[in-house]
């Protein structure tokens, strides 16, 4: 009986999720100069193909946490509501000479740099579950 209840609960939840989806219009995260650090973190995670490393509906905090685990932290730390400046982008690169580049050039270099770090470490240490959740088979 419990199985049926659990299965039914899942079914209703998932169906309800899709029923609530209205017509699509504009993407939420637009790459543009002046965007917030939180939005940039979300964009960056998607750009390096790491969306699946976040919770399914993960937000800016999850993206920032993920990037922090990679070691991608601008000087002063991530401030999700502050603007993503060229200085912050140069910090992510760890290259002082990059501060003279344009915002677009920096974004591309940051994407490539974080992509490299992610590719190196994606074989490694990421765990999607918090210690507070129930245990699952380790795979």
């Amino acid at each position: 009986m419990r199985k049926e209840i659990v299965g039914l609960g899942i079914f209703i939840f998932v169906i309800g999720l899709f029923i609530t989806l209205p017509a699509t219009s504009q993407a939420q995260v637009e790459l543009k100069e002046g965007m917030t650090q939180g939005d940039f973190a979300l964009w960056l995670v998607q750009a390096i193909g790491a969306q699946a490393k976040l919770p399914p509906a993960g937000g800016a905090d999850d993206a920032i946490y993920f990037l922090t685990q990679l070691g991608a932290v601008p000087e002063g730390g991530w401030q999700k509501d502050d603007e993503m400046t060229t200085e912050a982008l140069a910090d992510l690169l760890g290259d002082e000479d990059s501060a003279n580049l344009s915002w677009d050039d920096l974004v591309e270099k940051v994407r490539d740099h974080i992509q490299e770090i992610f590719d190196e470490r994606k074989l490694g240490t990421f765990r999607a579950l918090s210690p507070a959740t129930a245990s699952v088979p380790a795979v």
Binding site: G49, Q51, P55, S130, A132, A134
Partner: protein
């Protein structure tokens, strides 16, 4: 052949497919490489400068290959991320030597191990909806004097994320893994995990999240392969459904804190001694200690109520405080290091046969299948130093302490007290943006186990191992 098993014919097909896939990846590379740098119009980003060497030609050829592919196969420009679909093939190969592949077994055996894993990821953004599907096939082999195992694995992941409003996001993710169990005559296990989640920003500083995770684990290992009397309890099939909710409040620019609550029900197919429900209220927080240091932690209570008693008088429930803490620090511009500690309440699974994509401390993850609850203290750390844009070194270390009572061992009724550790180091060389080589050395040891005499084929014996692996990862 039993339902769900992979026969010899299927195995051969799998192996042929992997050879074809590998050839499809390598042959165009070689073909383009023969055209030389002139055909590329330049080297790949990060290439070694057109020196005309073998690796240079591979880099050039990969650049040529990607430029010749339809646009959905090419790396997107930053402006196109989130707007255009993309197909991304990936490929991994590694091999190495393991000094003791039968961890915890009564017979030691050194072996050569190799794994090849091609895959493909398709991502399709469409307005507010982002969808992603990944399929990865894996073939691994372990060849030792006493061990001969070949494993085919399939891993399919899917993700859909929808930004309902500026403040509300819906997401659904699903992962299914199908793998053979080595040494079990082609038997398979299945692990299905589905998660649906909603996050909503209630106020500028307050975010809520609710989720439901469903999991189905089916291990079809033949009971005949289990040299043990409690065969009916060795079936490890279960379903689990967990719901949870959490709040995150940005108390300051540096401090985020909030409560969480999870409720799980787990139901085993045969071994109903392990059935339970569990609630776990707690508090999570993170604090930015300085410009380069982040601290996080959680504290809560886990109460697990079993459907059956562990014995006639005791063992109906488990009540434990659960907590953890960690910090992450960036030292200079090139070194990032972190330390984590967690006390958790777990039950146990036999997943030693899973060839995981997580080389770090893999031996610690497998807790066999005897216990319905086990208290785990685990502390670990890692550090990565980027020598330059092409070279990096990293190190990791993990120690785990396990405590379990005899009433919670559903098979042998014996307690467990054990410690295990694993340390290692890796060197990574990034040839260019597509190709990465790495070499790993790891050492592991379990140096204390449950207080009982060894029982051949069952149980958790002490072990010591050394492992050296090297490989290449390619992502076009």
């Amino acid at each position: 052949m039993k339902k769900g098993q992979l026969g010899n014919k299927e195995k051969r097909i799998h192996q042929i497919l992997i050879v074809i896939f590998t050839a499809l990846l390598i042959l165009p590379t070689v073909a383009f490489a023969d055209e030389g740098p002139a055909a590329s119009g330049g080297t790949a980003s990060g290439g070694n400068g057109g020196g005309g060497g073998f690796f240079s030609r591979i880099g050039d050829s990969l650049s040529n290959l990607t430029s010749g592919l339809p646009s959905i196969f090419q790396e997107l420009s930053p402006a196109d991320v989130g707007h255009k679909p993309r197909v991304k093939p990936h490929f991994a190969f590694n091999q190495g030597f393991h000094s003791n592949v039968r961890l915890g077994g009564d017979q030691k055996d050194a072996a050569w191990q190799a794994r090849v894993a091609p895959g493909i990821t398709v991502s399709i953004p469409s307005g507010k909806l982002y969808s992603e599907v990944d399929y990865t096939y894996g073939f691994s082999t372990t060849q030792g004097r006493k061990t001969n195992a070949n494993i085919n694995t399939h891993n399919v992941s899917a993700l859909a994320r929808y930004d309902l409003t500026v403040d509300t996001t819906l997401g659904v993710a699903n992962n299914i893994q199908l793998s053979e169990v080595p040494g079990a005559g082609g038997d398979t296990f299945i692990l299905e995990t589905g998660t649906a989640q909603v996050t909503h920003r209630i106020a500028p500083k307050l975010t809520a999240s609710a989720w439901d995770t469903f999991q189905w684990f089916k291990d079809q290992t033949e009971t005949e392969t289990v040299p043990f009397v409690a065969k009916d309890k060795y079936n490890n099939e279960f379903i689990d459904n967990g719901v949870g909710i959490s709040l995150g409040y940005d108390a300051t620019k540096d401090l985020k804190v909030g409560p969480s609550f999870t409720w799980n029900i787990r139901n085993f197919e045969d071994n109903n001694d392990k059935d339970y429900w569990q609630i776990s209220p707690g508090v999570n927080g993170s604090y930015r200690l300085g410009p380069k240091t982040t601290v996080n932690g959680n504290f809560g209570w886990a109460f697990r109520r079993f459907d059956k008693k562990g014995s006639t008088t005791t063992g109906r429930s488990e009540s434990e405080l659960v907590y953890g803490a960690g910090f992450n620090h960036k030292l200079g511009r090139k070194l990032i290091w972190s330390v984590q500690y967690a006390k958790t309440l777990q039950d146990t699974f036999d997943t030693s046969f899973v060839n995981r994509d997580t080389p770090e401390a893999v031996a610690l993850d497998n807790l066999d299948r005897d216990f319905r609850v086990i208290k785990s203290h685990r502390v670990g750390g890692s550090a990565t130093y980027h020598l330059n844009e092409k070279n990096s070194v990293s190190a990791f270390g993990d120690v785990q302490f396990l405590f379990a009572d005899d009433v919670d061992n559903t098979i042998t009724k014996r307690e467990n007290r054990e410690k295990a550790m694993e340390v290692g180091a890796r060197y990574t060389y990034r040839f260019n943006r597509y190709i990465t080589f790495d070499v790993l050395y790891a050492f592991g040891r379990r140096f204390e186990r449950e207080n009982r005499p060894p029982q051949p084929g069952v149980g958790r014996e002490d072990y010591t191992f050394h492992k050296v692996t090297g490989g290449v990862n390619i992502a076009v």
